[in-house]
């Protein structure tokens, strides 16, 4: 009996140990410049997030270009992948050779836990000069010195304006100009209901999340030691005070009713495309959507307005993008690096993808390529991308939690349900710092 108990206990111990260490082994990265043509033909797997027909075609074309350059490598793709699937595959020890993420929110986790391999040895072996990337990109592709992903195309954010609704006015450059123009262009019904909004100022509007609007005032998320800077940086208070003043001018309930009557952001019913909103913050991709679904819309683009006392910020905006890397445990890291290198540093490949998807190319040589399709409205976003005032949300642990915590505070403040802004921001700091301590011990 005792022997049997011992056996059972040993079995449970083995099971426990197996669970505790599941996925913790680190696959050896092979720092190399990639595979060589004299190698045997190899097939690699790649997971990506594209799902729309035009995106899939553009990406297949890019892979066809890769096949021409690396004929011994065949790429098998899986579409519509999200971050949690990448994480589970790495944990299960059966990841793809290359994986792509549409959001930069997971980069800190990817790098810290080693879900994606450090690419610095590969970059060094391939002698790739990292100055081909704008400086801001380094902030969202590495964490604590570990560059575990590379940028594959980028997004930059600016102001779209409907020329007809602007009634001859020029796009605003400062927050006070934006507020004045919003009031001038807003059209209300007799009962005060909003028919056309000059600009919808609150944080719940589609792309008005704090990561995007924070660049209007140069707001900082973190202190050098990694703790929250939300309460201590007066820029957040400046932004939220400005937003609240304008929300109050509309009336929160009326603005919410107007917002909830709008169509889906990603459909042809987008309120800017439908002429319901005169000015809106949005990414460069909106140009392609307007071209597809609202051909007759007469519109222009400009950098987002900035705080009146910080005119030097004008011209910049928020930047983020798609990232791609080699998960740990990838079976063909050398060939995988060939693909990552091609998609992220080959100027023609980056330009072709940018032209097809109408995203901003993520290298400076691609930005200057004569092959890059440009028009005045798209050029605005290329300029924002290259502007030194542009900023991103640096890779950080609990990135989504931090953004959510600030946005919850913004909603409470805008709605008038929390009247003390200082106390609200101090509470945001506390929550973010407590969570940081929980997840990282810092």
């Amino acid at each position: 009996m005792r022997t049997r108990l011992l056996l059972v206990a040993a079995g449970l111990a083995v099971l426990s140990a197996a669970a505790c260490t599941a996925g913790t082994e680190s696959a050896p990265a092979i720092p190399s410049a990639g595979s060589t043509p004299d190698q045997k033909p190899v097939t690699i797997t790649m997971w990506h997030g594209f799902s729309a027909d035009n995106e899939l075609k553009a990406f297949d074309d890019a892979l066809a270009g890769f096949k021409q350059k690396y004929p011994w490598i065949t790429v098998k793709t899986t579409k519509a992948i999200q971050d949690d699937q990448i994480i589970q595959s790495a944990r299960g020890g059966n990841p793809p050779d290359v994986a792509m993420s549409f959001t930069t929110d997971s980069v800190a986790t990817f790098c810290k836990t080693g879900i994606f391999q450090d690419l610095k040895p590969f970059l060094a072996a391939s002698k790739i000069d990292e100055s081909i990337f704008p400086k801001v990109i380094a902030e969202y592709t590495q964490y604590q010195g570990n560059r575990c992903v590379m940028p594959m195309l980028a997004d930059s954010y600016g102001l779209y304006y409907n020329k007809k609704l602007m009634k001859g006015e020029q796009p605003p450059k400062t927050l006070s100009e934006l507020a004045a123009l919003t009031k001038k262009l807003t059209v209300r019904a007799a009962d005060g209901t909003i028919k056309v909004a000059g600009f919808v100022p609150h944080s719940q509007m589609y792309e008005n999340a704090p990561i995007h609007t924070g660049t209007m005032v140069g707001a900082k998320w973190t202190n050098p030691d990694g703790t929250s800077a939300v309460a201590s940086d007066p820029a957040w208070k400046q932004l939220m005070t400005w937003q609240k003043d304008l929300v109050d001018w509309f009336g929160y309930d009326k603005l919410e009713k107007f917002r909830k009557s709008m169509g889906d952001e990603w459909s042809a019913d987008n309120p800017f495309m439908k002429g319901k909103v005169a000015m809106a913050i949005d990414g460069e991709w909106r140009n392609a959507m307007i071209a597809a679904d609202a051909k007759d819309l007469d519109y222009g683009t400009a950098p987002i307005p900035v705080a009146d006392d910080k005119p030097q910020l004008y011209g910049g905006g928020f930047i983020a993008g798609t990232v791609v890397g080699i998960p740990r445990g990838a079976k063909n890291p050398e060939a995988a690096w060939d693909l990552v290198k091609y998609l992220t540093t080959d100027t023609d490949a980056v330009v072709n993808l940018s032209n097809a998807l109408r995203n901003v190319p993520s290298t400076l040589p691609a930005l200057q390529s004569p092959k890059l399709d440009k028009d005045p409205n798209f050029q605005t976003f290329l300029d924002i991308f290259a502007n030194p005032s542009s900023a991103t949300l640096p890779a950080q642990l609990n990135s989504v939690f931090n953004q959510q915590t600030l946005q919850e505070a913004q909603i409470k403040w805008e709605s008038g349900r929390a009247p003390d802004l200082d106390a609200l921001l101090a509470d945001v700091d506390k929550k973010i710092n407590d969570k940081l301590k929980l997840t990282s011990g810092n």
Binding site: T24, I87, T103, K112, H212, K260, D264, E408, T439
Partner: protein
């Protein structure tokens, strides 16, 4: 006469004992599929959850942190908000669902014609998938385009922003729960139809009115069904997730895109339930150690309610004997 044989170490083993031993082994063999399943899917996960609750665990790396995860629970405002919300739903939504289902079932039993039609009409909403039903409800009550606020407005009546105002969001979810009460209604209907008619006749002859008949005849007979519905309702509500998540996402206008942050519990965490918080901590923030603390708490509370259920049934069985 008992025969004896020699054991492994040479001791004498009675044949009767040996036979019992064989019977035990056979029983174990028959039980083994369940034992394996119970160990793999319950005992081991439970032990692992306790173990991980003392670790900082992000699915890849483990670091012992003592009681840190438990301490964080006491200072986590979202945890207490989610507990309050979940308790609100248990205290308000569950009794209302029971009362409404019982009322509808009672009505259907009194119908003289069209019983099948009305039974189907009341039952149908419970067949609608949770996500679809919630989407439909949020659309119906949308203050911008929803038919309900439009009609109320046309009548000159005010309409709240059901899923956008923190004081109306939980009542909104309760309305949704009442709409899909058909599953309970069918159970109650069966129980009501099982009440012996002669009991009502006897009560009527004794001069009992409708309320007295309900209180003294109907309720005692259907009590086991009511108890079952109440306790399973409480356990289901402790695990309330899908409707709250979908309603908050749709009402917030959040789209599942890069740069767009969804705030579960929208607005102001008023619909944040305990399972939602657990999911967020474990699978969004990868604070698995802390998620294990929350899971253990949920397990303990659910166990308490299960024990209450078992005790109630045992009490009823003894009464019946």
């Amino acid at each position: 006469m008992a025969t004896t044989t020699l054991g492994r170490r040479g001791e004498a083993v009675p044949a009767r004992l040996k036979g019992r031993h064989r019977v035990n082994l056979t029983a174990l063999l028959y039980l083994s599929p369940w034992l394996v399943g119970f160990t793999v899917f319950f005992v081991y996960p439970l032990i692992a959850t306790v173990y991980f609750s003392f670790q900082r665990y992000d699915l890849f790396t483990l670091e012992p942190v003592g009681l840190l995860n438990y301490k964080y629970f006491f200072q986590d405002g979202a945890a207490w908000t989610s507990i309050r919300n979940t308790l609100w739903l248990v205290v308000v939504m569950v009794p209302l669902r029971l009362l409404f289902a019982l009322g509808v079932a009672q009505l259907v039993t009194k119908l003289k014609a069209g019983v099948g039609f009305f039974r189907t009409i009341f039952y149908l909403p419970s067949l609608v998938p949770l996500v679809a039903g919630t989407l439909g409800f949020v659309y119906l009550l949308n203050p911008g385009t929803g038919p309900v606020p439009t009609i109320l407005s046309a009548l000159g009546l005010p309409s709240p922003d059901w899923f956008g105002d923190p004081s109306w969001s939980k009542p909104g979810l309760t309305l949704l729960a009442l709409w899909s009460v058909g599953d309970l209604m069918v159970i109650f209907l069966a129980a009501l139809l099982d009440v012996p008619k002669q009991l009502y006749e006897a009560a009527s002859l004794d001069g009992a009115g409708a309320w007295q008949q309900f209180y003294h005849v109907t309720l005692p007979v259907i009590r086991p069904v009511l108890t079952f519905a109440a306790v399973t309702g409480v356990i289901q509500t402790l695990q309330y997730f899908t409707q709250a998540m979908v309603a908050a996402r749709v009402a917030s206008g959040s789209t599942d895109s890069a740069g767009s942050v969804f705030t579960p519990g929208y607005p102001d965490q008023s619909t944040l339930t305990f399972p939602e918080l657990l999911f967020q901590q474990g699978f969004r923030d990868f604070a698995m150690g802390y998620a294990c603390v929350l899971a253990l708490l949920l397990f303990a509370v659910s166990m308490i309610f299960t024990l209450v259920l078992l005790r109630q049934f045992r009490g009823l069985d003894e009464e019946a004997v």
